[in-house]
């Protein structure tokens, strides 16, 4: 199932944290950085495409 924006943002945060963690390895960093850049682009695209669904309720509140 495709991830929503919040989940993708969480993934990005986790990815960024890896660069500051003890697990950081220079050999893996290039690949990770590429993946984070792709994820950031995806998030920006998703953000730009998000639309709200605004509906006016049919109920008549004057009665």
């Amino acid at each position: 199932m495709a991830k929503n924006i919040s989940e993708k943002i969480d993934d990005l945060k986790t990815g960024v944290e890896w660069f500051y963690s003890e697990e950081f390895k220079l050999e893996d960093a290039g690949e990770k950085y590429k993946a984070m850049t792709e994820l950031a682009k995806e998030i920006e695209k998703d953000l730009a495409e998000l639309k709200n669904d605004i509906k006016v309720i049919e109920e008549d509140f004057s009665k």
Partner: protein, 367 residues
């Protein structure tokens, strides 16, 4: 006597009933404005007062539960009423709704009601609920024709998306507005499908915004099971609904801001995150390169030091060797003698510059 042929004769009761019927048809809900005099509340159920101006006065009657604002003698009010001829032949107005008008009356009524509701704890800060962490459905109560609603939707759409917004279209000013807003509040609370309810109304005069000081509406907001945010009027306006709400936004646009995250800000943060790791990565590479460079320099220095040390050693050995070189001794003026040194024997002598053949003339021991 006093009768034309076809003229109808009424009983008193019938005449009174017909008069009321005609008046009800002619004035389905007449709006009258005037000053309150002789205000009386009987048995906490029935309200009587006169509505007057400088020339006329009319008696008014209403049920106490319909009294939505505290009213006192001298206040200027607007009523919606049905004219009625009572069984005793007295003309009066049966009031359906009443609201103070004019800055002085609104302010006075507001002060009285604020004091009363505050004493009941409706505005207690401890009862305020924060906005839910995750908002996916918003219930909006507003007039869909109002500029404030348009502002709210515009900011909401600019800032965030993916939300479901259910709008209950109600009037947001005038005597019927409070009841419509209460019905909308009840609608959302009964269904329980929205995360938050936003009561929205743009700026207006004190009269326009008076509905948001309606006692029943303030109570409905305070009693809402779903958190309520108000975005009513401009920054300077503060209504009793604001005091009763869980969260107060200064304007409709501000309410939209408080309910949503800003997608532009998130996009900027995402870009900043990527830049940050890019810088971090570059700095780590620089750091490692620097460590390598230092290490290489250290090794090179060590090699150079060792070579120098070997060179010095060799130089020293060479100096010693030089000192031991027989040629150097000859250069100092000595000679190397070869042969058996005995009188009459031939010997050879080697100096720095010459090879000499000689004959031993005499040998004498040194003392």
């Amino acid at each position: 006597m006093f009768m034309e042929k076809a003229q109808q004769v009424y009983s008193v009761s019938d005449f009174q009933a017909v008069c009321n019927q005609i008046m009800e048809t002619a004035f389905t809900g007449v709006i009258v404005e005037g000053e309150v005099a002789s205000f009386k509340l009987n048995q906490n159920k029935f309200v009587f007062f006169d509505l007057k101006d400088d020339q006329s006065s009319v008696g008014c009657f209403m049920m106490a539960f319909a009294l939505r604002f505290p009213i006192e003698d001298g206040m200027r009010v607007r009523i919606r009423a049905v004219p009625k001829l009572t069984n005793w032949g007295k003309f009066s107005l049966t009031v359906q709704a009443i609201a103070p008008v004019g800055e002085g009356s609104i302010k006075k009524s507001l002060e009285l009601l604020k004091k009363k509701l505050a004493a009941e704890g409706l505005f207690d800060k401890a009862k305020k609920r924060p906005l839910p962490d995750k908002i996916t459905k918003i219930g909006v109560i507003s007039s869909t024709q109002a500029a404030g609603y348009a502002d709210f939707c515009k900011i909401l759409n600019e800032r965030w998306g993916g939300l479901t917004v259910l709008t209950a279209h109600t009037q947001v000013q005038g005597m019927v507005a409070a009841d419509q807003i209460i019905r909308a509040l009840n609608y959302f609370n009964e269904r329980g499908e929205v995360d938050v309810i936003a009561v929205i109304r743009g700026g207006g005069s004190a009269d326009d915004l008076a509905v948001f000081n309606d006692e029943a509406l303030v109570r409905a907001i305070a009693a809402s099971k779903i958190p309520v945010i108000t975005g009513i009027g401009h920054e300077v306006d503060e209504s009793l609904c604001d005091l009763a709400a869980d969260i107060v936004a200064s304007t409709p646009s501000n309410a939209a801001q408080m309910l949503t995250r800003d997608r532009r800000e998130i996009a900027a943060n995402v870009r900043a995150d990527v830049n940050r790791i890019n810088n971090l990565l570059n700095s780590k590479i620089d750091e490692i390169t620097e460590v390598n460079r230092t290490e290489i320099l250290r090794v090179a220095n060590e090699i150079y030091r060792r070579i120098s040390s070997f060179n010095n050693e060799i130089l020293a050995q060479r100096k010693i060797l030089d000192q031991l070189n027989p040629e150097k001794v000859l250069e100092r003026g000595y000679a190397l003698l070869r042969g058996d040194v005995a009188e009459g024997n031939e010997i050879s002598l080697l100096t720095a510059k010459q090879e000499i053949e000689a004959k031993v003339m005499k040998v004498k021991e040194r003392k």
